[in-house]
Amino acid sequence: MMEFLSGISPGIEHWLILSALLFSIGIYGVLVRKNAVGVLLSAELMLNAGILNFVIFNYFITPLIVDGELMALFLIAVAAAEAVVGMAIFVAIYKHKKTVDVTRLDTLKG
């Protein structure tokens, strides 16, 4: 089994498919999760799909420089900050409305 796996070195397509899957799962989660925290988690998944792409293209296209990896590290930091802001907003909403169910946060209804 291990030999089989080690015999196949995954190419750029495999990695990109993985990234696309990750992204799609993220979209699905954003669109259907009711809990705001779940929505935020899904959004993180989409962001991570993007970060993965940076790494993939850096590895396969310009393996000698590390710009992509650096950008990935930078984005992870940004995502952490973003998650903090998002969670803070959710806490504030929860204090106000006693819920973080996104289907019930519809004050923008026309």
Binding site: V30, V39, V102, G110
Partner: protein
């Protein structure tokens, strides 16, 4: 030419009232009532003095030559349309405009003076004098107009001043209605005037081009001549070109059409039948206003317009005949109604109508070859302005004392108000046409003109109306001043203050002496004026007719009321018909309410309300409905927004991909 200072600065004549209008209206009125009256009056007095000085200089300069040309001492370009089409404002000086300026400033100055007493204690004192100044400025601008455009602008300005002053007591619904009526009727007539101006202006401009470089005889400074100028439009060579324009529909020549339309405007302002209906109602205004605007000056603007364009009217004989017959009919019609009215101001209003009819018919019967009627008309305008203003001011004095307009509330005022009585009697005799008072001379000249130019019907109408005038004027004289007091007000009546009596006395003197002005040698048109004394063959019958009228009035009204009631019973329905002014007002009401409103205005209003407004509402309604449908998409569900976003992003991504993969 050695002109006097005032001829060179002739713009001062209308300029001073305009200046005073602004000063009194904006600066003085809010602070001091008394000062407003004094400032406004002194401005008009100064203007009047300048007019006298200008008249003196003008006749001094031209009396040696014996001919009195048109001079335009002052013009300023106002509107520049194109190379050879501009409109100037200026002052035109000839005997006719001088005559009108003298009448306007004199009567206006005296009315201002009188109003200081009459309007004393009235709430709108300052406002009143402001309007009066505005009117005087407009009227002077009108009579001084060297071209038809300036005349039209000032024509509308006097209409506005008249509107403002008729509606002066704006708390009174009848005054408001009367002011609206006056404005609408005269404005309706002005539509004809404007159309006439457009026709004259358009063809005048075409003809003007043909005279480029060709000298027009008798015009001093042709370089400043414009197509709208009276000098141009009245010029024989121009009128000859006009008559070459051929006929329109039904054999009416172009010039006739234009002149009849212009006459419609003149008839509206001068209240000729059938546009006379506004003048009796205009008596709702303060009495001095009636004296100034609705007797002496503004209503003669129509006569002045016809006189100003007289060569053009004469070139189209038909238009002049229209003038003559409309004038004669109004003359008779109004005199008939005047015999039956009970409101002293209304009798005077109908008498004004009748006298305006005289002036119009006098213009209508004259021709360029024998222009006696032209002179007579302006002569009558001149004398009428004084005695009719005097009559109105006396009526104002009486109303001031009795607090009623009804002649049957008065009576026995001769002893209580001696000065008013004396001046009223002088004016009454003057309008009745007894020698040697002024009305006699001018009326005699009108009748002579009518007979001399082969218009026997018009002559007979004039003769008949002379008798009727004497009758109805002496009717109100006897009822008002003779007999005994018929009401509380008449018993307690006392003479008016001196500031009101002085203008009465001055006007009374003018009403006596105005007839001795040698008008025939001062004002003429066309042929050199034929020197005309009193035509005794006409004067004696006219005086006899007037005496018959006075006698009838004395028989009926000097003390024996049962004779009147017997006569009223005898005439029955005819009397009622005349008393109700031949139901012309009712006819107008019927025409406007039942015909125009119902069959034209209502459908238009329906169209406006349902189709035009409906269209506007439809666009608003559809926008709102569309928005309501769109707002259904606005669920507030952030995840459905996300779904839309993802779906459309996918769709456009697919689209882009298909577009670029295809090529």
């Amino acid at each position: 030419m050695n002109e006097g200072f005032f001829i060179e600065n002739i713009w001062l004549i209308p300029g001073i009232p305009l200046f005073s209008f602004f000063i009194v209206g904006f600066l003085i009125r809010p602070f001091s009532r008394k000062a407003a009256g004094i400032a406004a009056s002194s401005a008009i007095f100064i203007s009047a003095l300048i007019v006298y000085s200008v008249a003196w200089d003008y006749y001094q300069i031209f009396s040696q030559t014996g001919a009195y040309p048109v001079v335009i001492p002052w013009t300023v370009e106002w509107l520049h349309y194109q190379e050879d089409l501009s409109v100037y404002v200026g002052v035109l000086l000839d005997p006719t405009s001088l005559l009108l300026m003298i009448v306007v400033t004199t009567v206006s100055a005296l009315v201002h003076l009188y109003s200081i007493g009459y309007m004393h204690g009235d709430d709108g004192y300052g406002r009143y004098f402001t309007y009066l100044n505005l009117f005087t400025f407009s009227m002077l601008g009108l009579v001084a107009a060297p071209n038809i455009m300036q005349m039209f602008v000032c024509w509308e300005l006097v209409g506005v001043s008249s509107f403002l002053l008729i509606g002066f007591y704006y708390q009174k619904p009848s005054a408001v209605a009367a002011s609206k009526k006056a404005f609408v009727v005269t404005r309706f007539a002005d539509l004809g005037f404007l159309l006439g101006i457009l026709i004259l202006g358009y063809y005048g401009f075409l003809i003007f081009g043909e005279f480029d470089g060709v000298a027009l005889s008798g015009i001093a400074d042709q370089s400043r001549l414009q197509p709208f100028d009276f000098q141009f439009l009245n010029h024989p060579q121009v009128l000859a070109k006009f008559s070459e324009q051929g006929e329109l529909f039904g054999g009416i020549s172009l010039l006739t059409l234009a002149m009849v339309l212009i006459f419609a405007g003149a008839a509206g302002k001068s209240a000729m039948f059938p546009l006379h209906i506004w003048l009796p109602d205009a008596m709702e205004g303060p009495t001095p206003v009636s004296a100034l605007i609705h007797a002496a000056t503004m209503v003669v603007a129509g006569v002045y317009l016809v006189a100003r364009l007289f060569p053009a009217f004469a070139a189209s004989g038909t238009a002049l005949l229209v003038v003559a017959y409309v004038g004669a009919f109004t003359c008779l019609f109004a005199a008939l109604i005047g015999c039956t009215q009970d409101d002293i101001k209304r009798v005077l209003a109908f008498s004004t109508l009748s006298q305006l009819g005289y002036m119009m018919l006098a213009l209508g019967v004259s021709t360029m070859a024998s222009p006696l009627g032209y002179t007579a008309s302006l002569f009558h305008l001149f004398t009428h302005a004084f005695f009719k203003a005097l009559l109105f001011l006396c009526a104002g004095s009486v109303i001031h004392a009795v607090h009623s307009n009804e002649i049957w509330d008065m009576g026995g005022l001769a002893r209580k108000m001696p000065v008013t009585h004396l001046t009223f009697l002088i004016a009454t005799v003057a309008i009745a046409g007894l020698p040697p008072f002024s009305g006699f001379f001018s009326k005699d000249e009108i009748l002579a003109a009518a007979l001399g130019n082969q218009h026997p019907v018009i002559f007979l109408v004039g003769m008949l109306v002379a008798g009727m005038t004497a009758f109805y004027m002496f009717r109100i004289y006897f009822v008002t001043f003779w007999g005994h007091a018929r009401s509380q007000g008449a018993e307690k009546a006392h003479e008016s203050p001196p500031v009101m009596l002085v203008p009465l006395l001055i006007l009374a003197v003018l009403a006596v002496v105005a007839g001795f002005v040698p008008m025939g040698s001062l004002i003429s048109i066309g042929q050199a004026s034929e020197h005309h004394g009193i035509n005794w063959a006409i004067a004696i019958p006219a005086v006899l007719v007037a005496l018959v009228g006075i006698g009838a009035a004395w028989l009926l009204y000097a003390g024996k009321p049962e004779r009147v009631s017997a006569l009223v019973r005898l005439w029955g329905n005819l009397y009622i018909l005349v008393k109700h002014k031949f139901y012309v007002d009712e006819l107008y009401l019927f025409l406007t309410h039942k015909v125009i409103f119902r069959f034209i205005s209502r459908p238009i209003a329906w169209f406006d309300r349902h189709v035009v407004d409906g269209g506007v509402n439809l666009s608003g309604w559809s926008t709102r409905k569309f928005g309501a449908v769109l707002s259904l998409l606005q669920t507030g569900q952030v995840q459905s927004y996300g779904s839309w976003y993802v779906l459309s992003a996918a769709f456009f991504g697919l689209l882009l991909w298909m577009m670029f993969s295809g090529s």
